[in-house]
Symmetry: C2
Subunit: 305 residues, 2 copies
């Protein structure tokens, strides 16, 4: 299935990062570019210039390649808005909602839409970029169902059935951790350290003892008091808080967490798998580079207007 | 029981506020001073000068009055550290742990200690200042037991039996609200408004639908999506988040919330009582100015060294 020539250019353009992949037919990554030029750093009208800066070289040396982009680049504050595809959404539904962006240098670029869902109480939820990573993980693992976890600033928990995302929920775990650490009293006693496994495990165990939803508003305060009473060292407190929040997320998402597939950076994936092990939940890391794999799968279903 | 002459000077000196009361024998407040000069604004060595600035006038016109202080002024970062009295702690135990501060201008000033407790998992918790307000509410209401809620940056839920605080828990509700509003994506769509009762009620109802501890990490994200999908107006989002967090706190503290007594500012007390009503929990506002009432009760048990 592999080929020596490039088949597509896949771009995963998020809030705080830009990643571009020159991809071969079978999904081989021939070249890649990574940068911190996420959409928050780019003014309206500058997107094409930034893109040319990073991937212009790939076009001059090759025939016209199809280009797909996914992530927050399709949000209202991105390049062009690509309206959400509602759940259930799989390859066909998402490919049918790809928006075409006309670009002077590049011709038509496909912009993958995000996906929206209603939770069981009828409240809306949204993702942008993660849907493409999930499609890539399905392709890489040759699966059509399962629970997928994408940890991060806004963690996503998605349920896939028959190749379609049928429901999902966002957890603000990463952003809540940062806000608590940097902007509340909890950060005062914390000292940066190399990452403390025992502090993290203690936080996960504390999460497992929570009973009611509001208990977490109490439990986080222990990050301070365990430090005040020298029950944890100042270098352990940040990991304790991280373990507490990730543990709470896992136990909430745990309606389907057993055997869930984690899609994320190796470090964060390892952290989620470690928390799962403490809680008796076997999580499975996904292959890396799911975004270009998902875009490649979408390309096969995309019929540009 | 009342008298026309002053009987004591009571000072409630917290992190962000200073309050002093010239109190008559029966608890009548003869004069009061309020200022934003909390302990965070005061350098080591300056406390006596600040105190003299605010209450110096009360001493020149009267005989030497006993002076008590409670609140964060007794913390490590305050004037002098007053070690925590462990639970169970009532008037006798707390009065026995009052620390005497020698002051050039004032003679001996009594510094009321905070109270510490272990939660049911053995994790430590602490309060400073709230114990004195609880003692004041007990005196004002002529009670020796009950559940007391002190809402705020760090809400406290305390259980009192036979006149002693037997257990309590801190909820970081107020500080979490501020951190989420000011330092996460949730604040982006919010517009300041006059306070929206329907948005608040919607948040409380959302809290009542939470099932697991980690669910709150998901539910807060709805503050954004309900705004994105125009299900709530931008002027309602802040109240929605407030209702969600206060509702979660009440339902967690609700192990004993039915009939609990709320000690706080009239506005915050009204908000907690409104949330309780939505959740079927009857909360009862306490009288105001519980801090000087508590100090007056402690004075009767205080034997300065």
């Amino acid at each position: 299935m592999t080929s020596s020539g490039p088949a597509a250019i896949c771009i995963d353009w998020g809030t705080s990062s830009f990643r571009a992949y020159l991809v071969g037919v079978g999904g081989t990554i021939i070249e890649r570019v990574e940068s911190a030029r996420g959409i928050l750093t780019i003014a309206k009208g500058e997107h094409e210039d930034v893109l040319a800066h990073f991937i212009g070289g790939w076009l001059t040396s090759a025939r016209a390649l199809p280009i797909l982009m996914s992530g927050m680049i399709g949000a209202r504050q991105g390049w062009v808005e690509a309206p959400y595809a509602p759940c259930p959404a799989g390859l066909r539904e998402i490919a049918a909602s790809i928006v075409t962006v006309g670009a002077r240098t590049f011709g038509a670029i496909g912009l993958v839409p995000g996906v929206s869902a209603l939770d069981r109480n009828g409240a809306p939820d949204v993702m942008r970029g993660e849907e493409t990573q999930i499609l890539g993980a399905l392709a890489a693992l040759d699966r059509v169902d399962g629970t997928f976890v994408l940890p991060g600033t806004h963690s996503k928990w998605a349920r896939v059935e028959a190749g379609r995302i049928v429901s999902f929920a966002t957890y603000m775990t990463g952003e809540v951790f940062s806000a608590l650490k940097d902007h509340t009293i909890l950060g005062r006693l914390m000292e940066a350290g190399p990452g403390d496994e025992e502090g993290f495990a203690e936080g996960v165990r504390a999460a497992s003892r929570l009973e009611r939803p509001g208990d977490v508003l109490h439990a986080i305060f222990m990050t301070r008091t365990l430090g005040l009473f020298d029950r944890l060292g100042s270098g352990q407190l940040s990991d304790y808080l991280s373990g507490l929040l990730i543990g709470a997320e896992l136990l909430s998402g745990a309606r389907g967490a057993q055997g869930a597939i984690v899609i994320g950076s190796p470090a964060l994936t390892a952290r989620y798998c470690a928390a799962g092990a403490i809680l008796g939940l076997a999580l499975q890391p996904s292959p890396e580079d799911c975004a270009p794999l998902g875009q490649l799968a979408l390309l096969a279903h995309w019929r540009p207007a």
